[in-house]
């Protein structure tokens, strides 16, 4: 009896946890379809009494949301592709027993996790030395190699049987061929995991654009959210064609709508990719 009670208690707690995690998503989603006047008079509701697509039609009538979507997509796709290739090939070398200087390289990589360059040096590098201010590359280049992901891959490559390598060497294949043709395919699940981590980082990043992007044409979705939350002149930023001043601009609605548009793809692919993240987490906790 007491054991039963305990189990009920566990169920109730977990349902509570799940609800608390879910409700903010629900509020944002359902209120993005609420009427602006409704939000203004009675605030955000769990179950709004009105329905309106006004926020979305305002947002989608302008150019900015499409521009921002393009920027975010480009940065995510190019950044993830380059990042994965660079990180995986670098990690392979760190894990390769033939490489004499792998320990030096490992240490130099690990050291950057302990002692960072900090904001000022980083800012000067991108803005003053590389002249990447207001360039889309400022949103891509700085994240191409994450030491943590590299070490996840190192520990995985180390676990592969060395015979894989030797057999190919006997056949006269060079190390680059071996890596891309033999090691890469058998490591695909882990590489996919790292790719998802990179994709998530690029999709969600707003730090780089906050520092280096002033040109609104290069604003990614995340900065668009920020602009809509803080910008008083939302209409001209969104770039809609409406000039009818009798229409109430759905300020709150647009903030919620842009959030939904931004997290939509993540929530949509989430059920399919969740297991890869869990795998990556458990791999990462293996000390290398």
């Amino acid at each position: 009896m007491r054991e039963r009670l305990f189990l009920y208690f566990v169920y109730v707690l977990l349902i509570g946890f799940a609800l608390i995690c879910f409700i903010p998503f629900w509020i944002v989603l359902i209120n993005s379809f609420a009427d602006e006047a409704n939000i203004q008079t009675s605030g955000y509701q769990l179950f709004p009494t009105s329905f309106s697509l006004n926020a979305y039609s305002f947002l989608l009538s302008g150019k900015q949301v499409f521009r921002s979507y393009g920027v975010t997509l480009f940065v995510t796709i190019v950044g993830t592709t380059l990042g994965v290739i660079i990180t995986a090939s670098y990690a392979y070398v760190l894990s390769h027993p033939k490489v004499k200087y792998r320990h030096v390289l490992s240490f130099l990589t690990f050291f950057t996790m302990l002692f960072g360059a900090g904001l000022v040096g980083f800012y000067m590098l991108i803005a003053n030395w590389l002249h990447l201010k207001d360039s889309i590359w400022a949103l891509i280049l700085p994240y191409l190699l994450n030491p943590f992901y590299a070490f996840i891959l190192v520990s995985y490559f180390r676990s592969l049987p060395y015979e894989l390598n030797e057999a190919a060497t006997v056949d006269g294949a060079n190390d680059m061929y071996i890596f891309f043709r033999i090691i890469w395919p058998v490591s695909l699940p882990v590489i996919a995991t790292v790719a998802l981590f990179y994709a998530l980082q690029y999709w969600n990043d707003w730090y780089l654009s906050l520092l280096f992007i002033d040109n609104y044409r290069l604003h990614p979705l995340q900065i668009m959210i920020r602009q809509l939350i803080s910008n008083l002149n939302a209409m001209s930023y969104v770039g809609g064609s409406q000039t009818d001043y009798n229409i109430m601009i759905p300020t709150f609605g647009m903030q919620l709508a842009i959030v939904c548009i931004t997290i939509g793809p993540i929530v949509f692919v989430y059920p399919f990719v969740q297991k890869y993240f869990i795998k990556g987490m458990t791999l990462g906790s293996v000390k290398g």
């Binding site: 660079i86 070398v93 900090g118 190699l145």
Partner: protein
């Protein structure tokens, strides 16, 4: 002399012999050189009166003057305290909740229910802090927020949350736990799954309840993992989460007394006041404190339990 020469040719021999491997590593090495090591030159600015027109090597060297200015003002104490205090709260409640969540999930035998709950609690990890800040506004906004609606419905006076600095450390902690608990629970759940079932079978024969099994078997066996996670957290205790704090608090000056951390302080010194040298001094202070903490706690961990050390 001879060994030197041998060393040099040994180096070249190694590079040539494994040229394809080093070629594979080249982009990564270039990346680290350019994006991780070159910016470390920025620390030099802390000892200069940096002017953009004079550049890094043309600016006047001023010794420790920037540090004197930084430490001569009470701000450094405030931001250091906020950073350490907030990170401490995040660490204790973050790990505590994650462990609780993992232990609870482990009690569930219904696979479907377990998976569904896990999906929900893991979801907040996937959204950016800016999105979270919008969600925080739907709850805490003084006129449209749901919390004030609930308060007025219950007959209380609504509170201007964004004008009340005292509550923000706790709001931030709640939000941090909300976003990260599911993610962090994965590691704990994985190590619980790794515990041999023999322990539990023995306990069951001895008549131990589920609660006793959790207290006397699961939690003690989780100790090493909890130690490592705590150490990782302590190692970063001087690094505020800029992405989080700046997204949630932003430029709301009223809230600075309790929410301004070293990172947001340095950011404002750089971007709003344009004071490169001042900002650099703050960061040198932070990096040094960070490095000392990591080394100190790693040394401590090695002494207590050599399996818990990080390196």
């Amino acid at each position: 002399m001879r060994s030197n020469k041998a060393g040099a040719s040994g180096f070249i021999y190694e590079i040539v012999k494994n040229r394809y491997l080093y070629l594979l590593a080249l982009p990564g090495m270039l990346f680290l050189l350019i994006f991780a090591y070159t910016p470390m030159l920025g620390h030099l600015l802390a000892f200069q009166n940096y002017r953009l027109s004079d550049g890094l090597f043309g600016s006047e060297w001023v010794g420790f003057k920037n540090f004197e200015f930084f430490f001569g003002n009470k701000d450094w104490l405030r931001v250091t305290w906020n950073t350490v205090f907030l990170n401490g709260l995040f660490l204790v409640f973050g790990i505590g909740t994650a462990v609780l969540l993992a232990v609870l999930l482990n009690e569930i035998t219904n696979k479907w229910f377990k998976k569904t709950v896990q999906s929900f609690v893991f979801l907040p990890y996937f959204i950016s802090w800016l999105v979270v800040s919008m969600m925080v506004q739907t709850v805490f906004s003084s006129s449209e927020g749901m919390l004030n609606q609930a308060l007025t419905a219950l007959g209380f006076q609504g509170v201007d949350w964004y004008l009340t600095p005292g509550v923000w450390p706790y709001i931030l902690t709640f939000v941090y736990v909300w976003k990260m608990a599911g993610y962090n629970s994965i590691i704990f759940l994985a190590s619980i799954t790794g515990i041999s079932s023999e322990y539990y079978e023995c306990a069951k024969i001895e008549g131990a309840s589920r609660m006793q099994q959790i207290i006397y078997i699961t939690l003690p066996l989780l100790r090493p993992v909890i130690m490592i996670m705590t150490l990782l957290g302590i190692g970063r205790i001087f690094y505020g989460d800029f992405g989080m704090i700046y997204a949630l608090v932003g430029d709301v000056g009223v809230l600075y007394p309790t929410t301004d951390v070293i990172d947001t302080f340095a950011y404002r010194a750089l971007r709003q006041m344009g004071n490169f040298s001042m900002s650099s001094a703050i960061i040198v202070y932070q990096s040094s404190m960070g490095l000392i903490t990591v080394i100190l706690f790693n040394w401590l961990a090695r002494r207590i339990d050599s399996d818990s050390r990080l390196f």
